[in-house]
């Protein structure tokens, strides 16, 4: 039997989506941090260096770096390499706009740290202001 955990938060972009989690414990850079043509993290010092987020629910603590963040994630949508949802530890202008222009369900301000509760490979359902996590 699978363990299921429910988290409550605040809707960033409304919608419902289920998929596999890809968890970053470090903040993510957009410009200079991802290659939008391939949907891959390219920052050499990053824990997810070389990992593809296409089709995953991207779980990350915050956005860092350049103001190109949202534009790069918008480009993943236009290139067909986008994540299918975002679970954001702490919202900022970069990640809020990034989620809006990626046009995927997104949530923040959860009642537990999503980067601790969720592990890469867990099955995650984002439903507006709740997240259901099924451990792998």
């Amino acid at each position: 039997m699978n363990d299921s955990i429910i988290l409550h938060g605040r809707t960033v972009v409304p919608g419902k989506i289920a998929g596999e989690a890809l968890v970053s414990h470090e903040p993510i850079s957009g410009w200079g941090g991802i290659d939008p043509a391939r949907g891959v993290i390219i920052e050499p010092r990053h824990e997810l260096y070389g990992v593809c987020f296409t089709g995953k629910i991207l779980v990350f603590p915050s956005a860092k770096g350049s103001s190109g963040w949202s534009g790069f994630f918008q480009t993943t949508r236009l290139s067909g390499t986008a994540p299918i949802g975002m679970i954001i530890g702490r919202i900022s202008a970069k990640s809020a706009l990034g989620a809006v222009v990626t046009r995927v369900p997104a949530i923040t301000d959860l009642d537990a740290d999503p980067c601790s509760v969720i592990a890469t490979g867990d099955w995650v359902l984002i439903d507006n202001s709740t997240v259901e996590v099924t451990k792998r």
Binding site: R10, V12, V13, P27, G32, G33, A37, I42, E43, P44, S62, A63, K64, G65, S66, S67, G68, W69, S70, G71, Q74, T75, L78, S79, R90, I91, S92, A93, K94, A96, L97, G98, A99, V100, V101, R103, A106
Partner: protein, 426 residues
């Protein structure tokens, strides 16, 4: 979100479909932020002309109106873009026509960008073409609400000028340029402008351009997206040093606002920089300084330097003069190129002051509009580069897959002349 009557009219299409689409984006964005309302602005720094494969495709399909709709308004509607409602400038973008035959950058991008400049210029956009609009006449006033992109410009505007802007993006600045509005959230609100972390410089003295950059890199790694307050043994910084400090803090973390009590305008004292209790200080001393230096140099292994890059963020006129003074009468190593990136307006002054001629006689270049990171362009065959910019040392290895050395201006010029990196922390 509360909307004024004017904002409701814009949302409902009274000023046309493009303005309505801009309001729609601002409402989606405001909801994502949980903002209470919008604020009125009349200073936008964004990007419209920068070439990209997606933009080239959109322009080919539906002209610049379509590119602006999709990229700058996040709209799928067929829109005709009206003139900018408020003063709007173009930040750094790709390389221009005068870079052809110098920079290996696609001619199609140069042409696309020139075409874009004509379209946006006719729509009222000021083509400043620099990451440092504050060096070429766009100096917002203290307390002025703005919508700026470019993390190094945002941190400068907030911290050094006391203006108020979040680190906006392409779509939010596009929407702001047609509406004169941006979500009133984050750095726009007084209560979010106090310090959160205290950094005390002790046992080292931060005086040089290099040291200000390393301290900024440390401040960003300590405070993440929060607001550091810097105190201790600091010399009084100038524009170029705070330009370097801020760019580094915005790179290693996500700092958009800092205070240096007694120097930056919103904090007369350490106590005034914090809304309540002053937190315990994180010390920046010899060990921390050495650790930052090691981090910025950990990508370098070969000491054969084939590219030296200066001017990130874009150089001041004084930085160009200093480089010219060090290069006077010298000649670059045959296998090494030197580029100094600068705002076009300052390049004109460097030309007129004779600095550019000195640099070119040595074999170097002063280039405008862009940078290797923005345009993913370096001299052909570059494997190892050296820079005096903590930001560029951080980003360029990832973007171009090359090795990096970070050092002083003098070490970088020496590397350009000898073709060898001989830098070290002093």
């Amino acid at each position: 979100m509360f909307l004024t009557d004017d904002e409701k009219r814009m949302r409902d299409g009274a000023e046309g479909d493009a303005v309505a689409a801009a309001m729609d984006l601002l409402l989606r964005y405001g909801a994502a932020l949980d903002a209470d309302r919008l604020c009125s602005i009349r200073n936008v720094a964004g990007t419209m002309t920068q070439p990209s494969p997606v933009k080239a495709r959109l322009v080919a399909e539906g002209g610049w109106d379509k590119a602006f709709a999709v990229i700058n308004l996040d709209s799928d509607l067929d829109l005709t873009i009206p003139p900018m409602r408020i003063p709007t400038c173009q930040l750094q973008h790709g390389f221009g026509p005068d870079s052809v035959d110098i920079v290996p950058y696609p001619r199609a991008n140069v042409d696309l960008q020139s075409d874009g400049e004509a379209f946006y210029g006719a729509h009222g956009v000021q083509i400043l073409a620099t990451c440092t609009p504050y060096q070429v006449g766009n100096l917002p006033m203290r307390g002025e609400h703005c919508a700026w992109m470019e993390s190094s410009a945002v941190i400068y505007a907030n911290s050094v000028l006391g203006a108020r802007t979040n680190c906006e993006g392409i779509a939010s600045t596009g929407a702001a340029s047609l509406t004169g509005r941006i979500p009133c959230w984050g750095n726009h609100l007084e209560e979010n402008r106090f310090g959160t972390h205290l950094i005390s410089v002790s046992g080292v003295s931060v005086e040089s351009f290099q040291d200000w950059g390393m301290l900024g890199y440390f401040a960003g790694s300590v405070s993440g997206e929060d607001r550091p307050v810097i105190t201790g043994s600091l010399a009084r910084p100038d524009l170029t040093e705070l330009k370097h400090f801020g760019a580094a803090a915005a790179t290693s973390g996500g700092v958009e606002l800092y205070h240096i009590p007694g120097i930056t305008p919103e904090a007369a004292s350490v106590e005034a920089a914090f809304q309540s209790q002053v937190p315990d200080a994180a010390v920046y001393g010899p060990a921390e300084r050495a650790a930052v230096y090691e981090t910025l140099n950990e990508i370098g292994s070969s000491t054969d330097v084939d590219f030296v890059l200066l001017g990130c963020p874009h150089a001041s006129l004084e930085q160009i003069r200093q480089a010219a003074a060090l290069l006077d009468g010298k000649r670059l190593s045959s296998g090494t190129e030197l580029w100094i990136m600068a705002p076009r307006a300052l390049k004109v002054m460097a030309d007129r002051s004779g600095y550019t001629a000195v640099i070119e006689r040595a074999g170097g270049r002063v280039l405008a509009d862009s940078c290797p990171a923005m345009s993913r362009a370096a001299p052909a065959g570059t494997r190892v580069f050296a820079t005096d910019s903590a930001k560029q040392a951080h980003y360029l290895p990832a973007i171009l897959g090359i090795e990096a050395w970070f050092g002083t201006l003098e070490e970088c010029i020496a590397a350009a002349v000898t073709g060898r990196w001989a830098g070290g922390l002093r």
